[in-house]
Protein backbone atom coordinates (compact mmCIF):
# COMPACT_ATOMS: atom_id res chain seq x y z
CA UNK A 1 0.00 0.00 0.00
CA UNK A 2 1.43 3.34 -0.80
CA UNK A 3 0.49 6.75 0.35
CA UNK A 4 -0.44 9.31 -2.19
CA UNK A 5 -2.65 12.30 -2.40
CA UNK A 6 -5.77 10.25 -2.86
CA UNK A 7 -5.26 8.32 0.38
CA UNK A 8 -8.33 8.44 2.63
CA UNK A 9 -7.60 9.11 6.30
CA UNK A 10 -9.25 6.77 8.82
CA UNK A 11 -7.94 8.54 11.90
CA UNK A 12 -7.04 12.16 11.98
CA UNK A 13 -5.41 13.94 14.90
CA UNK A 14 -5.17 17.71 15.11
CA UNK A 15 -3.18 19.72 17.59
CA UNK A 16 -2.93 16.99 20.21
CA UNK A 17 -1.67 18.14 23.59
CA UNK A 18 -1.41 15.99 26.64
CA UNK A 19 0.34 16.34 29.99
CA UNK A 20 0.87 14.06 32.94
CA UNK A 21 1.27 16.50 35.78
CA UNK A 22 4.40 18.49 34.92
CA UNK A 23 5.42 16.22 32.07
CA UNK A 24 4.24 17.42 28.69
CA UNK A 25 3.95 14.14 26.83
CA UNK A 26 2.37 15.50 23.63
CA UNK A 27 2.87 19.03 22.43
CA UNK A 28 0.86 19.66 19.33
CA UNK A 29 0.67 16.66 17.07
CA UNK A 30 -1.05 16.60 13.70
CA UNK A 31 -1.27 13.21 12.13
CA UNK A 32 -3.39 11.41 9.56
CA UNK A 33 -3.52 7.66 9.49
CA UNK A 34 -4.63 6.43 6.08
CA UNK A 35 -7.08 3.68 5.51
CA UNK A 36 -5.38 0.39 4.96
CA UNK A 37 -1.82 1.53 5.58
CA UNK A 38 0.66 0.10 8.01
CA UNK A 39 2.11 3.06 9.87
CA UNK A 40 5.20 2.74 12.00
CA UNK A 41 5.64 5.19 14.85
CA UNK A 42 9.23 5.42 16.02
CA UNK A 43 11.18 7.74 18.21
CA UNK A 44 13.29 7.82 21.33
CA UNK A 45 12.12 6.41 24.62
CA UNK A 46 9.78 8.71 26.53
CA UNK A 47 9.06 10.82 23.46
CA UNK A 48 5.31 10.24 23.74
CA UNK A 49 4.63 7.39 21.32
CA UNK A 50 2.47 5.37 23.66
CA UNK A 51 0.60 8.45 24.74
CA UNK A 52 -0.09 9.30 21.10
CA UNK A 53 -1.36 5.78 20.47
CA UNK A 54 -3.60 5.90 23.52
CA UNK A 55 -5.06 9.19 22.32
CA UNK A 56 -5.63 7.88 18.82
CA UNK A 57 -7.34 4.77 20.16
CA UNK A 58 -9.63 6.63 22.54
CA UNK A 59 -7.97 5.19 25.62
CA UNK A 60 -6.86 8.60 26.80
CA UNK A 61 -8.70 11.83 26.20
CA UNK A 62 -6.09 14.42 25.18
CA UNK A 63 -5.97 17.66 27.14
CA UNK A 64 -6.10 19.60 23.90
CA UNK A 65 -6.78 18.91 20.25
CA UNK A 66 -9.05 16.34 18.67
CA UNK A 67 -9.02 12.86 17.22
CA UNK A 68 -11.54 12.04 14.52
CA UNK A 69 -12.39 8.56 13.34
CA UNK A 70 -13.29 8.20 9.65
CA UNK A 71 -13.06 11.98 9.11
CA UNK A 72 -13.86 11.67 5.43
CA UNK A 73 -17.16 9.94 5.91
CA UNK A 74 -20.60 11.40 6.20
CA UNK A 75 -20.71 11.05 9.95
CA UNK A 76 -17.16 11.45 11.26
CA UNK A 77 -16.76 10.45 14.88
CA UNK A 78 -14.97 12.78 17.27
CA UNK A 79 -13.36 10.14 19.45
CA UNK A 80 -11.89 12.61 21.88
CA UNK A 81 -15.31 14.03 22.69
CA UNK A 82 -17.08 10.72 23.35
CA UNK A 83 -17.86 9.42 26.83
CA UNK A 84 -15.95 6.40 28.11
CA UNK A 85 -18.77 3.88 27.55
CA UNK A 86 -19.02 4.87 23.88
CA UNK A 87 -15.26 4.83 23.47
CA UNK A 88 -15.13 1.41 25.13
CA UNK A 89 -17.72 0.19 22.66
CA UNK A 90 -15.72 1.63 19.77
CA UNK A 91 -12.50 0.04 20.99
CA UNK A 92 -14.28 -3.26 21.29
CA UNK A 93 -15.86 -3.27 17.84
CA UNK A 94 -13.52 -1.24 15.66
CA UNK A 95 -10.08 -1.44 17.25
CA UNK A 96 -7.72 -4.19 18.23
CA UNK A 97 -4.71 -4.02 20.55
CA UNK A 98 -1.43 -5.85 20.85
CA UNK A 99 1.18 -4.99 23.46
CA UNK A 100 4.68 -6.01 24.31
CA UNK A 101 3.80 -8.81 26.74
CA UNK A 102 1.60 -9.91 29.61
CA UNK A 103 -1.66 -9.07 27.97
CA UNK A 104 -3.32 -12.47 28.16
CA UNK A 105 -5.54 -13.36 31.08
CA UNK A 106 -3.38 -15.88 32.90
CA UNK A 107 -6.29 -18.05 34.02
CA UNK A 108 -7.87 -18.46 30.60
CA UNK A 109 -6.92 -20.99 27.95
CA UNK A 110 -5.59 -19.64 24.65
CA UNK A 111 -8.92 -20.19 22.91
CA UNK A 112 -10.88 -18.50 25.68
CA UNK A 113 -8.47 -15.58 25.66
CA UNK A 114 -9.10 -15.08 21.97
CA UNK A 115 -12.86 -15.55 22.39
CA UNK A 116 -13.31 -12.83 24.99
CA UNK A 117 -13.80 -9.90 22.56
CA UNK A 118 -16.33 -11.96 20.60
CA UNK A 119 -18.23 -12.89 23.74
CA UNK A 120 -18.20 -9.26 24.78
CA UNK A 121 -19.84 -8.27 21.55
CA UNK A 122 -22.51 -10.90 21.95
CA UNK A 123 -21.32 -13.87 19.93
CA UNK A 124 -22.38 -17.23 21.33
CA UNK A 125 -19.65 -19.21 22.98
CA UNK A 126 -19.45 -22.25 20.64
CA UNK A 127 -19.30 -19.94 17.63
CA UNK A 128 -16.71 -17.73 19.33
CA UNK A 129 -14.56 -20.75 20.14
CA UNK A 130 -14.81 -22.04 16.61
CA UNK A 131 -13.70 -18.75 15.12
CA UNK A 132 -10.92 -18.38 17.66
CA UNK A 133 -9.56 -21.84 16.99
CA UNK A 134 -9.63 -21.16 13.28
CA UNK A 135 -7.72 -17.92 13.66
CA UNK A 136 -5.17 -19.55 15.95
CA UNK A 137 -4.58 -22.17 13.30
CA UNK A 138 -4.01 -19.54 10.67
CA UNK A 139 -1.39 -18.09 12.98
CA UNK A 140 0.33 -21.44 13.12
CA UNK A 141 -0.89 -22.38 16.56
CA UNK A 142 -2.57 -25.71 15.97
CA UNK A 143 -3.27 -27.68 19.09
CA UNK A 144 -2.36 -25.11 21.71
CA UNK A 145 -5.92 -23.92 22.18
CA UNK A 146 -6.36 -25.59 25.55
CA UNK A 147 -3.08 -24.34 27.00
CA UNK A 148 -2.79 -21.57 29.54
CA UNK A 149 -0.65 -18.50 28.77
CA UNK A 150 1.87 -19.64 31.38
CA UNK A 151 2.51 -22.73 29.28
CA UNK A 152 3.23 -20.88 26.03
CA UNK A 153 6.51 -19.49 24.69
CA UNK A 154 6.80 -15.74 24.29
CA UNK A 155 6.28 -15.94 20.53
CA UNK A 156 3.26 -18.21 20.88
CA UNK A 157 1.72 -15.96 23.50
CA UNK A 158 2.28 -12.98 21.25
CA UNK A 159 0.54 -14.73 18.36
CA UNK A 160 -2.38 -15.53 20.65
CA UNK A 161 -2.52 -11.83 21.49
CA UNK A 162 -2.54 -11.00 17.78
CA UNK A 163 -5.36 -13.46 17.27
CA UNK A 164 -7.33 -11.83 20.05
CA UNK A 165 -6.76 -8.40 18.56
CA UNK A 166 -7.87 -9.52 15.10
CA UNK A 167 -10.69 -11.88 15.95
CA UNK A 168 -13.32 -9.17 15.76
CA UNK A 169 -11.99 -8.01 12.35
CA UNK A 170 -11.19 -4.53 13.63
CA UNK A 171 -10.77 -1.56 11.32
CA UNK A 172 -7.62 -0.40 13.08
CA UNK A 173 -5.04 -2.49 14.88
CA UNK A 174 -2.94 -0.66 17.47
CA UNK A 175 0.31 -2.33 18.40
CA UNK A 176 2.74 -1.02 21.01
CA UNK A 177 6.09 -2.78 20.61
CA UNK A 178 4.37 -5.99 19.53
CA UNK A 179 7.66 -7.80 19.08
CA UNK A 180 9.61 -5.95 21.71
CA UNK A 181 10.22 -8.99 23.85
CA UNK A 182 10.97 -11.48 21.10
CA UNK A 183 14.15 -12.52 19.31
CA UNK A 184 14.72 -11.72 15.61
CA UNK A 185 13.23 -14.86 14.18
CA UNK A 186 10.25 -14.93 16.51
CA UNK A 187 9.47 -11.30 15.86
CA UNK A 188 9.67 -11.87 12.12
CA UNK A 189 7.28 -14.76 12.40
CA UNK A 190 4.80 -12.82 14.46
CA UNK A 191 5.09 -9.76 12.23
CA UNK A 192 4.73 -11.51 8.93
CA UNK A 193 1.79 -13.58 10.14
CA UNK A 194 0.14 -10.51 11.58
CA UNK A 195 0.75 -8.33 8.55
CA UNK A 196 -0.39 -11.01 6.12
CA UNK A 197 -3.70 -11.26 7.93
CA UNK A 198 -3.97 -7.50 8.19
CA UNK A 199 -3.20 -6.75 4.55
CA UNK A 200 -5.58 -9.42 3.43
CA UNK A 201 -8.38 -7.85 5.46
CA UNK A 202 -7.44 -4.29 4.65
CA UNK A 203 -6.98 -3.46 8.31
CA UNK A 204 -5.15 -0.25 9.14
CA UNK A 205 -2.23 -0.69 11.53
CA UNK A 206 -0.59 1.81 13.86
CA UNK A 207 2.50 0.17 15.21
CA UNK A 208 4.99 1.59 17.69
CA UNK A 209 8.44 0.15 17.40
CA UNK A 210 12.01 0.83 18.37
CA UNK A 211 13.27 -1.60 15.86
CA UNK A 212 14.17 -0.48 12.33
CA UNK A 213 13.67 -3.90 10.84
CA UNK A 214 10.16 -3.95 12.30
CA UNK A 215 9.52 -0.45 11.03
CA UNK A 216 10.65 -1.62 7.63
CA UNK A 217 7.52 -3.74 7.38
CA UNK A 218 5.46 -0.57 7.45
CA UNK A 219 4.32 1.46 4.50
CA UNK A 220 5.22 4.67 6.21
CA UNK A 221 7.06 5.87 9.26
CA UNK A 222 6.61 8.85 11.54
CA UNK A 223 9.15 9.83 14.14
CA UNK A 224 8.01 11.28 17.44
CA UNK A 225 10.51 13.46 19.25
CA UNK A 226 9.77 15.28 22.46
CA UNK A 227 6.04 15.02 22.05
CA UNK A 228 5.99 16.28 18.49
CA UNK A 229 6.24 14.65 15.10
CA UNK A 230 9.99 14.80 14.44
CA UNK A 231 11.53 17.80 12.72
CA UNK A 232 12.79 15.50 10.02
CA UNK A 233 9.29 14.28 9.35
CA UNK A 234 9.42 12.64 6.02
CA UNK A 235 6.70 10.83 4.27
CA UNK A 236 8.64 8.18 2.52
CA UNK A 237 7.14 5.39 0.57
Amino acid sequence: MSTNDTAVPILSARGLHHSFGQTEALRGIDLDVHTGEVLAVTGPSGSGKSTLLHCLAGVLVPDGGSVTYRPAELAPMGISSLGEPKRARLRLTDFGFVFQFGQLLPELTAVDNVSIPLLLSGTRRPEAQRRSTELLERLGLEGIGAKLPGELSGGQAQRVAVARALVTSPAVLFADEPTGSLDSLASENVLTLMLDLVREAGTTVVMITHDARTAAYADREVIVRDGAIGAGYRVSA
Partner: protein, 175 residues
Amino acid sequence: MNNSITLLGLLGREPSYGYDLKHSYDRYFGAGKALAFGQVYSTLARMVRDELIRALGEETGGGPDRKKYEITVAGQDRVREWLFTPDVPSESLQSNLFAKTVIALLLDDDADRLLDVQRSEHMARMRELTRLKKDADLLRVLVCDHGLFHIEADLRWIDLTSARLAQLKKELQSA
Protein backbone atom coordinates in the same frame (compact mmCIF):
# COMPACT_ATOMS: atom_id res chain seq x y z
CA MET B 1 35.26 9.10 2.26
CA ASN B 2 35.90 11.91 -0.11
CA ASN B 3 39.02 13.76 1.13
CA SER B 4 38.80 16.72 -1.19
CA ILE B 5 35.24 17.66 -0.35
CA THR B 6 36.04 17.25 3.34
CA LEU B 7 38.97 19.68 2.98
CA LEU B 8 36.69 22.01 1.09
CA GLY B 9 34.21 21.78 3.96
CA LEU B 10 36.93 22.60 6.48
CA LEU B 11 37.91 25.62 4.43
CA GLY B 12 34.31 26.72 4.63
CA ARG B 13 34.83 27.75 8.25
CA GLU B 14 37.50 30.39 7.55
CA PRO B 15 40.31 31.03 5.13
CA SER B 16 43.41 29.07 6.13
CA TYR B 17 46.88 27.90 5.10
CA GLY B 18 47.39 24.46 3.64
CA TYR B 19 49.47 23.57 6.63
CA ASP B 20 46.72 24.44 9.11
CA LEU B 21 44.16 22.69 6.96
CA LYS B 22 46.12 19.45 7.12
CA HIS B 23 46.30 19.66 10.90
CA SER B 24 42.59 20.34 11.27
CA TYR B 25 41.84 17.39 9.06
CA ASP B 26 44.12 15.13 11.01
CA ARG B 27 42.50 16.18 14.27
CA TYR B 28 38.93 15.35 13.19
CA PHE B 29 39.31 12.55 10.69
CA GLY B 30 42.94 11.43 10.60
CA ALA B 31 42.85 9.03 13.48
CA GLY B 32 45.46 6.42 12.52
CA LYS B 33 46.22 7.66 8.98
CA ALA B 34 47.29 11.29 8.69
CA LEU B 35 47.10 13.04 5.32
CA ALA B 36 50.36 13.52 3.42
CA PHE B 37 51.30 17.16 2.70
CA GLY B 38 51.68 16.33 -0.94
CA GLN B 39 48.11 15.07 -1.13
CA VAL B 40 46.82 18.24 0.54
CA TYR B 41 48.63 20.53 -1.89
CA SER B 42 47.63 18.61 -4.98
CA THR B 43 44.00 18.60 -3.85
CA LEU B 44 44.11 22.33 -3.16
CA ALA B 45 45.61 22.96 -6.59
CA ARG B 46 42.83 20.94 -8.21
CA MET B 47 40.15 22.85 -6.33
CA VAL B 48 41.72 26.19 -7.35
CA ARG B 49 41.60 24.98 -10.90
CA ASP B 50 37.89 24.06 -10.52
CA GLU B 51 37.30 27.49 -8.95
CA LEU B 52 35.96 26.03 -5.74
CA ILE B 53 38.63 27.95 -3.81
CA ARG B 54 41.02 30.72 -4.51
CA ALA B 55 44.39 31.76 -3.09
CA LEU B 56 44.53 35.00 -1.17
CA GLY B 57 47.45 37.44 -1.90
CA GLU B 58 50.80 35.63 -1.98
CA GLU B 59 53.18 36.04 0.89
CA THR B 60 57.00 36.25 0.69
CA GLY B 61 58.73 32.98 -0.01
CA GLY B 62 56.01 32.06 -2.47
CA GLY B 63 55.85 28.22 -1.80
CA PRO B 64 52.44 26.52 -1.73
CA ASP B 65 52.68 26.22 2.05
CA ARG B 66 52.85 29.97 2.33
CA LYS B 67 49.52 30.46 0.58
CA LYS B 68 46.24 31.20 2.32
CA TYR B 69 43.11 29.80 0.65
CA GLU B 70 39.50 30.92 0.76
CA ILE B 71 36.29 29.12 -0.36
CA THR B 72 34.31 30.54 -3.26
CA VAL B 73 30.53 30.68 -3.58
CA ALA B 74 30.67 27.76 -5.97
CA GLY B 75 32.69 25.93 -3.35
CA GLN B 76 30.08 26.60 -0.69
CA ASP B 77 27.31 25.29 -2.93
CA ARG B 78 29.32 22.20 -3.58
CA VAL B 79 29.69 21.52 0.14
CA ARG B 80 25.96 22.04 0.72
CA GLU B 81 25.05 19.66 -2.03
CA TRP B 82 27.35 17.06 -0.60
CA LEU B 83 25.98 17.44 2.91
CA PHE B 84 22.34 16.96 2.06
CA THR B 85 22.58 14.34 -0.57
CA PRO B 86 22.04 11.01 1.15
CA ASP B 87 24.48 8.30 0.27
CA VAL B 88 23.34 5.00 -1.01
CA PRO B 89 23.41 2.71 1.99
CA SER B 90 26.65 0.75 1.71
CA GLU B 91 29.39 -0.49 3.94
CA SER B 92 31.77 2.32 3.08
CA LEU B 93 29.19 4.92 3.92
CA GLN B 94 30.00 5.22 7.59
CA SER B 95 33.10 7.39 7.37
CA ASN B 96 31.50 9.68 4.83
CA LEU B 97 28.41 10.23 6.95
CA PHE B 98 30.65 10.90 9.90
CA ALA B 99 32.60 13.48 7.97
CA LYS B 100 29.40 15.10 6.82
CA THR B 101 28.10 15.34 10.34
CA VAL B 102 31.30 16.87 11.66
CA ILE B 103 31.55 19.35 8.81
CA ALA B 104 27.91 20.32 9.21
CA LEU B 105 28.47 20.97 12.88
CA LEU B 106 31.66 22.92 12.19
CA LEU B 107 29.84 24.97 9.59
CA ASP B 108 26.98 25.45 12.02
CA ASP B 109 24.65 23.85 9.49
CA ASP B 110 21.61 21.62 10.19
CA ALA B 111 23.20 18.33 11.15
CA ASP B 112 19.86 16.99 12.37
CA ARG B 113 18.39 17.36 8.95
CA LEU B 114 21.32 15.69 7.33
CA LEU B 115 20.92 12.67 9.58
CA ASP B 116 17.17 12.52 8.98
CA VAL B 117 17.64 12.63 5.27
CA GLN B 118 20.06 9.77 5.52
CA ARG B 119 17.68 7.93 7.83
CA SER B 120 14.88 8.14 5.31
CA GLU B 121 17.17 6.83 2.63
CA HIS B 122 18.08 3.90 4.85
CA MET B 123 14.47 3.18 5.74
CA ALA B 124 13.45 3.25 2.12
CA ARG B 125 16.16 0.74 1.30
CA MET B 126 15.10 -1.44 4.22
CA ARG B 127 11.50 -1.40 3.12
CA GLU B 128 12.63 -2.38 -0.34
CA LEU B 129 14.66 -5.29 1.00
CA THR B 130 11.79 -6.33 3.27
CA ARG B 131 9.48 -6.35 0.29
CA LEU B 132 11.93 -8.42 -1.68
CA LYS B 133 11.97 -10.97 1.10
CA LYS B 134 8.29 -11.62 0.73
CA ASP B 135 7.65 -14.73 -1.31
CA ALA B 136 11.38 -15.18 -1.97
CA ASP B 137 13.30 -18.42 -1.49
CA LEU B 138 15.37 -18.85 1.61
CA LEU B 139 18.70 -18.07 -0.04
CA ARG B 140 17.37 -14.80 -1.31
CA VAL B 141 15.88 -14.08 2.13
CA LEU B 142 19.24 -14.63 3.74
CA VAL B 143 20.93 -12.24 1.31
CA CYS B 144 18.28 -9.62 2.00
CA ASP B 145 18.66 -10.15 5.74
CA HIS B 146 22.39 -9.62 5.46
CA GLY B 147 21.73 -6.26 3.82
CA LEU B 148 19.03 -5.40 6.33
CA PHE B 149 21.21 -6.04 9.33
CA HIS B 150 24.00 -3.88 7.94
CA ILE B 151 21.68 -1.02 7.17
CA GLU B 152 20.17 -1.41 10.57
CA ALA B 153 23.61 -1.03 12.12
CA ASP B 154 24.01 2.28 10.25
CA LEU B 155 20.59 3.34 11.35
CA ARG B 156 21.41 2.68 14.94
CA TRP B 157 24.52 4.77 14.57
CA ILE B 158 22.42 7.51 13.03
CA ASP B 159 19.90 7.37 15.86
CA LEU B 160 22.62 7.40 18.47
CA THR B 161 24.42 10.25 16.80
CA SER B 162 21.32 12.34 16.38
CA ALA B 163 20.63 11.83 20.08
CA ARG B 164 24.16 13.11 20.83
CA LEU B 165 24.38 15.97 18.37
CA ALA B 166 24.21 18.74 20.92
CA GLN B 167 26.99 17.18 22.96
CA LEU B 168 29.13 16.56 19.89
CA LYS B 169 28.73 20.13 18.73
CA LYS B 170 29.87 21.49 22.06
CA GLU B 171 32.91 19.27 22.00
CA LEU B 172 33.87 20.29 18.46
CA GLN B 173 33.51 23.95 19.18
CA SER B 174 35.60 23.88 22.32
CA ALA B 175 38.36 21.93 20.56
